[in-house]
Amino acid sequence: MIRKRIDFELIQEIIPHGSRVLDLGCGTGELLYFLKNEKGIIGYGIDCDEEKIACCVEKGITVHHGDIEEGLKNYPDNAFDYVILSSTLQVIRWPEPVLVNMVRVGRRAIVSFPNFAHFSLRLALAFEGRAPKNKALPYEWYDSPNIHFLSIKDFEHFCKSHQIDVMRCEFFSKGRRIKFAPNLFAEDALFLLSKGGTSA
């Protein structure tokens, strides 16, 4: 759970005290619970899993049981200070409207995802000729919840083509920050985004 801890710490560092935060794919509400206690945020979550929703309500987290895309569409512009998509991008059926709506509904968006261009995955594909696996992407091809495989470069390209400003990005591998050639050496990436032309 090193990945999760780094995610949590980075997100905690970014988000100011008392912010309104929406967590997409909030799971059992751990991140929101953590931010509520550490930063006094007003948190909301969306998740499609009934058991996880029940866990959130038990923790006192406000949640909506349903589809992320439908839920996002409903919110007015700038309804939140931060909208978070933590390690969930790769499992969403249609990421494009979700990302576009994230920067509309939130003044800022935080997106983290596993980097499919990490050298270990490249090597596995090149030399073994099989769908690669590593700690960040541990599943077999046939039982993986991950339906999109993207690299850091892909994501940066997406942001540029959709007028989304990258305000900050952090890359890490095995609990350490990666500065050099992140698309090759980082297992995970975290981006702080805002709608193009609105960053101030």
Partner: protein
């Protein structure tokens, strides 16, 4: 039952008030409210929870009446250590006005004539039921409910509290309900009313002092209602096409199928405990319910109540999308609302059946509210 321990026995109490003004413009005088309370009101009076019953419910939400064959209708969720913990909360449940379980209704005596009201009883709305509950609230010395909770028609009352009296209601849990009765929902109620009103024994509502009673009409109304409370899955699990005490079809019009027998039993037992006119009044109140038509976005923006909205996957009377719609409406105005759809095969009746998830979220949400105040 003699086995019920004395601490688990409860009695319905009655409070009487001078009069209440109704949405129709009419007045009801006197106003009688039957209610029960469980647990103790704390010194700050911050732990009061109002539980609202559905169409055929009563003030007996939990614990046992002396000699009763079963406990209150939500006993699985209300009690010491249960989801709505009576060691922690002061729980109030009152019978709705317009009904027939102790509060003023069409079978009550009209003081002007000294005979039962019948159709002289004024038409009641969901908001009227809530206004009557507010009389009781003041009577009990409660300034604000920690939470108002209800399913189905009870959910409508809970929503009415939250949308129209937000300052008196810190939290709201509405289950298996809607904020606006749709044409299909009205249609089922209309058929139920027709069944009663086309029974010759109904006698335009004046049957109380005669030796006839619209049993047939009320039983048919209940059977129709009961079908809408179940689900295809629930009926298949419980009855499938099983035959009733026979090996082969009878090739006649006696009871062949288990489901036929079950519906007759439901209808026949309902007429023993429910007043036909009350059925007309309560279904009418539900049909008039249109909170969405009453409120504006400005009103929604002013709502400070925190919501937990719950639907059930197989409920086709108040389907999940109608409950989720309320959540979306509130989210659009940035209100504090949680929504959960619980998977269940039991149809609309699911909220009246013990479900571990329902228990956990009721308890968790109340706990959160209690921690915040």
């Amino acid at each position: 039952m003699d086995l019920v321990e004395p601490q688990n026995l409860v009695k319905t109490q009655v409070a009487v008030f001078d009069e209440i003004s109704l949405e129709s413009g009419k007045r009801l005088s006197p106003l009688q409210i039957a209610y029960e309370t469980y647990g103790d009101l704390n010194a700050d009076k911050t732990n009061a929870v109002l539980v609202c019953h559905a169409l055929s419910g009563s003030a007996n939400a939990a614990f046992w009446h002396k000699g009763a064959r079963k406990p209150g209708w939500w006993d699985m969720y209300i009690g010491p250590g249960k989801a709505i913990d009576t060691n922690k909360y002061f729980v109030v449940c009152s019978n709705v006005i317009g009904g027939c379980n102790g509060s003023s209704g069409p079978a009550s005596i009209n003081p002007k004539t000294n005979h039962p009201y019948g159709l002289e009883f004024p038409v009641i709305t969901i908001n009227d039921m809530v206004n009557a509950q507010e009389f009781l609230m003041k009577h009990l010395g409660i300034k604000r409910w920690l939470c108002v909770i209800g399913g189905s028609m009870g959910g409508m009352q809970a929503l009415s509290w939250a949308f129209k009296k937000s300052e008196l209601c810190y939290g709201c849990i509405a289950l298996a309900t809607t904020m606006r009765h749709t044409a299909q929902q009205i249609a089922f109620n209309a058929v139920g009313r027709q069944a009663i009103m086309r029974d010759p024994a109904w006698n335009r509502g004046s049957y109380y002092e005669t030796d006839v009673y619209p049993y047939q009409g009320l039983a048919v109304a209940r059977m129709i209602g009961h079908i809408t409370y179940l689900s295809d899955e629930a009926m298949n699990i419980k009855f499938a096409r099983r035959l009733r005490e026979k090996e082969k079809y009878g090739y006649d019009f006696s009871i062949d199928f288990e489901i036929e027998s079950y519906l007759r039993h439901q209808g026949d037992s309902f007429v023993q405990r429910f007043d036909a006119n009350a059925y007309l009044y309560l279904t009418k109140a539900i049909d008039y319910f249109d909170l969405e038509g009453e409120i504006s976005n400005d009103i929604i923006r002013g709502i400070m109540t925190k919501f937990l909205l719950v639907s059930f996957s197989s409920d086709w009377l108040y389907p999940p999308h109608q409950v989720e719609y309320i959540a979306r409406l509130l989210e659009k105005e940035k209100r504090d609302v949680s929504y959960c759809c619980i998977s269940s095969d039991y149809g609309h009746d699911a909220f009246l059946i013990y479900n571990e998830k329902q228990s956990r979220i009721l308890s968790g949400f109340l706990n959160r509210l209690y921690g915040e105040i």
